[in-house]
């Protein structure tokens, strides 16, 4: 089994790579490959799309790799292969990003990515640090992860889903912040599972064994 961690020159893949590699080894879930090649993505059994930085910049980076997004979309949307987006990789699953400028997302999960505006103005943006998850809808990738478990966040924008059924978990930051989205064979984490110690590694491991 092959899991492709898509490298499109957006952020630090090292720790994500190491976290996926370790969990793949622990559960005998095959090989993790870091790749920018559409051919490799096309034959991968699972796809992980990370991303750090601004939404428009990430999307631009992704589309500078000829055929890469098309390969991801065919594998995920047409062939139903399990997909995980992390941070901006998750945000790009939305219809729209509103960071700096209006940017279209993949439109896989209806909704838009908007600036975090806590109702308490004393709260800082970016939302940075450990926050406790509130699970909205149970999901196989969240097996063993419960409300109250902590995950590590660092972001200034978040994904407001149109249909609440697509929000699998949230956190409280003087208002709800979307933590996990999902539908069909797709899941996305706003936080960094590769930086979230126990709960994060559990989510990585569950994803590697997930049969949607």
């Amino acid at each position: 089994m092959l899991t492709a961690l898509v490298d499109y020159n957006s952020g630090n893949l090292h720790s994500a790579h190491k976290a996926f590699e370790r969990m793949a080894r622990e559960r005998g879930a095959g090989t993790i490959v870091v790749t920018s090649e559409p051919d490799v993505v096309a034959k991968a059994d699972r796809i992980v799309l990370p991303g750090d930085g601004a939404f428009p910049a990430c999307k631009n980076h992704l589309f500078t790799y000829s055929g890469l997004f098309e390969a991801i979309e065919e594998a995920v949307v047409q062939k139903g292969r399990p997909f995980m987006g992390i941070c901006i990789g998750m945000q790009m699953m939305a219809s729209w990003g509103r960071e700096y400028e209006d940017t279209t997302g993949f439109d896989w999960i209806p909704g838009e990515v908007v600036k975090i505006t806590p109702s308490d103005p004393a709260l800082k943006v970016p939302h940075m640090g450990w926050n406790d998850l509130v699970v909205d809808h149970p999901h196989p990738v969240l097996d063993g992860v419960d409300s109250g478990d902590h995950a590590y966040f660092v972001h200034s924008y978040h994904f407001k889903v149109t249909n609440p059924v697509h929000r699998l978990a949230h956190v409280d930051y003087a208002g709800d912040i979307t933590a996990i989205v999902g539908r069909d064979n797709m899941i996305g984490c706003q936080f960094h599972p590769e930086k979230s110690q126990r709960a994060g590694l559990r989510i990585v491991s569950n994803f590697l064994g997930w049969v949607p």
């Binding site: 090292h14 940075m128 200034s156 409280d172 930086k195």
Partner: protein, 265 residues
């Protein structure tokens, strides 16, 4: 609810921890990766490596440390010391750091923060500010803080040769795109007398990005004050953890008992 972070900081020189790390189960207390692993298991919320020599020849050692740490610790790692350019940021991020901290290079040229944040995102750009109180009002209340370099011995000067006000500088680097400020009080660092609370509060209230309080922690109450009176989002400490005065868990439980939201599981 977002939790207050406790960040142990390891001073590293030539690939070795400089101040002692006093954990019973360490095979090699001088190996930063061993110490990082111990802090990971102990429940630290983030880790910080500070390369205190940061000579060009030593960079390879730091990259190797970042790589080895990221292979074993699945928690955020900040690296600072000798970071000068966006390419330095890139090299450290690729090696395995999650955040990179600028210090004197940002004082000399605040635009380096903007160039780095534009390229890699604000989330990974920390700006360290070393400052101390330089003016008090007639009641003895501190009212002005100035940036110092060279371990607190030398006042940093702007292009016109004037001292740099720490509050104005913090606001400037926020505008430039820094994601976080690591604020060290040079008049408290190493004293164990507690944070410079007036400075921490003034700067934390003046910016909308998180401020990490640093410099002067000697007791668990100091950590509490950094948050309740200093308004810091995170507290950084070295000695009280490295020398085994307190464990991370003791510190977290103490702060939680004082009403500060902490990550205890």
């Amino acid at each position: 609810m977002l939790k207050t972070r406790i960040i142990p900081c390891l001073d590293v020189a030539d690939g070795r921890v400089v101040k002692g790390v006093n954990f019973v189960d360490l095979i090699d207390a001088g190996d930063p990766v061993e110490s990082a692993r111990a802090y990971d298991l102990a429940g630290a919320d983030e880790l910080c490596f500070l390369d205190i020599h940061a000579t060009h020849e030593n960079r390879g050692t730091m990259y190797d440390l970042a790589t080895r740490t990221a292979e074993q610790c699945f928690m955020p790692l900040t690296i600072g010391g000798g970071v000068r350019t966006p390419d330095d940021v890139r090299d450290l991020l690729l090696a395995g750091a999650d955040k990179v901290s600028f210090n004197s290079a940002a004082v000399a040229d605040p635009d380096v923060i903007a160039r780095s944040a534009d390229r890699f995102g604000s989330q990974c750009i920390v700006c360290a500010i070393d400052a101390k109180t330089t003016e008090w009002d007639e009641d003895g209340t501190p009212v002005k803080w100035t940036i110092f370099t060279h371990g607190g011995r030398k006042a940093a000067l702007d292009a016109e040769g004037n001292p740099i006000d720490a509050v104005e500088f913090a606001k400037l680097i926020e505008r430039k795109g820094a994601g976080e400020i690591l604020l060290t009080s040079m008049d408290r660092d190493g004293t164990r007398a507690g944070f410079n609370l007036a400075m921490t509060r003034t700067i934390a209230d003046a910016v909308n990005i998180p401020v990490i309080a640093s410099g002067g922690v000697g007791t668990l109450d100091h950590l509490v004050e950094g948050v309740t009176e200093g308004h810091a989002s995170a507290v950084l400490a070295a000695s009280i953890f490295h020398f085994g005065d307190y464990t991370i868990q003791e510190a977290k439980e103490y702060m939680a008992a004082k009403g500060i939201p902490m990550r205890l599981n």
